[in-house]
């Protein structure tokens, strides 16, 4: 899913030192794939992707990060592994210092700064950053908008009622 490249891998190798200062958030379900740090990064990103307002709830109210953890628990472990790497790259304070002259981790940054950081990643000349941005934004976006509680807010009536249909074909054998 993601090609982090040599630069990303090198920075991740320094992750243990660089991750100090993460602001952790408690998940509302038992995590199956993510560590608490990884979950906290994803939850922070999800809240920037869908911060709520104008009648829409923030991502945290819809348990977007928890749902992604649950989804990845049913997928090949390699997929979750790549997402975990991407999250640590976003959080990595050493990378932030090297590339952006910032000292804070992503989770420890205020929302306005997180918005600027995420916009910078979207437009970055570094392909790895755009790759991480696209993967995590898409994951958060699709999970958020899959929630049935949002259907009426976007004028979507929901799928037709298909209960009680019978098959004339016999595929239900």
């Amino acid at each position: 899913m993601l090609g982090l490249g040599l630069g990303g891998a090198a920075l991740l190798a320094c992750g243990g030192l660089a991750l100090r200062g993460s602001r952790l958030r408690a998940p509302r379900t038992t995590l199956q794939v993510f560590s608490e740090t990884e979950y906290s990064v994803l939850a922070a990103i999800a809240d920037r992707v869908n911060p709520g307002g104008d009648g829409f709830p923030p991502a945290r109210d819809l348990d977007v990060a928890e749902k992604i953890d649950a989804l990845l628990a049913t997928a090949h472990p390699g997929i979750g592994g790549e997402i975990k790497q991407a999250l640590l790259l976003v959080e990595n304070a050493l990378a932030a210092f090297v590339f952006d002259q910032r000292y804070e981790t992503f989770t420890a940054s205020p929302p306005e700064l997180q918005d600027r950081i995420w916009a910078d990643w979207a437009a970055s000349s570094i392909e790895t950053r755009r790759s991480v941005y696209k993967a995590l934004t898409a994951l958060c976006t699709a999970t958020y908008w899959s929630d049935a509680s949002l259907w009426d807010k976007v004028g979507y009536p929901g799928p037709p009622d298909v209960s009680g249909l019978t098959s004339a074909i016999g595929a239900d054998r």
Partner: protein, 492 residues
């Protein structure tokens, strides 16, 4: 007839033919072989999901019916790969659009790869079985494409679909709960079972026993239990991406070409917000298409529209924050047009490569050249022009920072936008190639009779054999090829 929805203990089977994969290729082939009295066993990695499972709820259907729980993508993440994974393969979730292989494509294959396939009688046969016919009703999404092309004087045409008694609900991509889509699940798979064939669902194939000339048995795993099939002939039909991976995992790579020449019809899109209600979630997903630019200089492309249920609509939106809410608030008024790049015909679009990761998953490398990026730019301009000609209020690209247009003068903004790898959303719903068919052994993985070069009893019958992309939706080409392949596999 034996249908296994996974197994609860070790399973040993004997067959004349073992078919790995139950999609457009594998199931048409399997049904044809069973009709000729061959003992056929089909192994399918995905679930036997039927009408009763198709809730039409996106958050349930996509993880259940698509590869990698709907997260498959190229290695750099630039192209999201929508690929089916259930009994029936992609046909369970495709949007039902059917085209015969275009004459220009068949001519290219003849000139470049020495292929004369004689597909017409096979198309006639599958068109009858799958009730492939022109669909006369446009939803508003398709009507916008027709209206815009008409106003511009551009070519457009009505599309054909494989449906019977279609409720025109618009949820083809989530499995058909009406059993109206003539997907493999309710047609050729049932033909196979009725003819005494065996289907094992939720069975992932891991190994092929072979000596370099003959495959003797197939090893799979289903719900933790071993499934072994001894067969006289083995057919790989896991689709582009998965079939090359299975061959590579078993050290089968004649000429070093397995996985190379993989084509994706990379898709770019431009959304439009209209005063009128579009309700792009309702009605046949695709009934109008335009091939106005398929033969343009450089990489050609064709235009269609996608259905727009909320999750799929949002997945294409690369921006974040309040702009998402603003866009989605107007979903009922949104029409999206897509352009599919016809890769494999021009040096700027040579396709990609599938290799095997250390953990066994596919690694799909698909570089986007400057020439392909320029074609994507041309497609953006064309789609925006269609929207404007159709009376759009605001047209918007799927860049992280969308390019927004309200008048023809605004089209200039598209000139300065970046195109290509990771600058905007790109999808693929059509995966092709990777086990190229060619007349010359040195040029292909399989021969024109689908036999893997160097092997006596190993075949590939699915979209991976296509030597190029098609410039049209691929399902009918795969049905026709598989129908043609019955003779070769039965007589081997």
């Amino acid at each position: 007839m034996s249908l296994y929805r996974g197994v609860d203990g070790p399973l040993e089977l004997q067959a004349d033919v073992c078919v790995i994969g139950s999609g457009a290729g594998g199931s048409v082939l399997a049904a044809g072989l069973a009709a000729r009295g061959r003992r056929v066993v089909v192994l399918e990695a995905g679930p036997y999901a039927t009408r009763a499972d198709f809730s039409q709820v996106e958050g349930e259907a996509y993880p259940m019916l698509y590869q990698d729980r709907f997260t498959r993508a190229t290695a750099d993440g630039s192209i999201s790969i929508l690929q089916g994974r259930s009994v029936g393969g992609g046909t369970t979730v495709n949007w039902t659009t059917c085209f015969r292989t275009p004459e220009r494509v068949q001519a290219f294959w003849k000139d470049r790869f020495g292929l004369e396939l004689g597909l017409d009688p096979h198309f006639e046969a599958v068109e009858e079985r799958l009730n492939i016919a022109e669909w006369p009703i446009n939803n508003q999404n398709n009507e916008v494409l027709r209206r815009g092309c008409e106003a511009l004087g551009w070519e457009w045409g009505r599309l054909r679909r494989n449906v019977l008694g279609c409720a025109d609900s618009g949820y083809c991509g989530l499995g058909c709960p009406y059993d109206a889509k003539q997907a493999m699940l309710i047609t050729t798979i049932q033909d196979l079972l009725d003819a005494g064939g065996t289907l094992v669902a939720e069975c992932e194939v891991l190994g092929l026993d072979h000596d370099g000339r003959r495959v003797t048995s197939v090893h799979g795993r289903s719900k933790g239990h071993a499934v072994n099939v001894r067969a006289d002939r083995v057919v790989v039909a896991g689709g582009a991406i998965n079939s090359p991976c299975l061959l590579l995992a078993n050290d089968i790579d004649p000429n070093g070409l397995v996985g190379k020449n993989t084509f994706l019809h990379p898709v770019v899109a431009v959304g439009g917000i209209y005063d009128e209600v579009i309700a792009g979630w309702q009605g046949a997903p695709q009934s109008i298409g335009s091939h106005q630019f398929i033969e343009r200089e450089g990489v050609g492309f064709f235009m269609e529209v996608p259905p727009l249920q909320p999750m799929l609509a949002s997945a294409g939106f690369l921006g974040f924050g309040p702009m998402q809410h603003e866009f989605m608030s107007q979903l009922a008024h949104v029409c999206s047009i897509i352009s599919l790049m016809a890769d494999g015909f021009h040096e700027a679009a040579p396709g990609g490569t599938v290799t095997l990761r250390a953990d066994g998953r596919p690694h799909v490398d698909y570089p986007i050249s400057e020439g392909l990026a320029q074609a994507m730019k041309a497609a953006h301009i064309a789609m925006a022009r269609v929207h404007l000609a159709a009376g759009v209020k605001v047209a918007s690209t799927l860049h992280a920072e969308p390019v927004v247009m309200e008048t023809e003068a605004d089209l200039e903004r598209l000139e300065d936008a970046p195109y290509g790898t990771l600058w905007h959303s790109i999808f693929t719903a059509h995966q092709m190639g990777g086990c190229r068919m060619a007349a010359a052994a040195s040029e292909g993985v399989v021969t024109p009779d689908h036999r893997v070069n160097g092997f006596d009893n190993l075949f590939v019958v699915d979209g991976s054999v296509l030597p190029t992309s098609l410039g049209v939706n691929p399902s009918e080409t795969l049905y026709g090829l598989a129908h043609r392949a019955v003779d070769f596999v039965a007589g081997a």
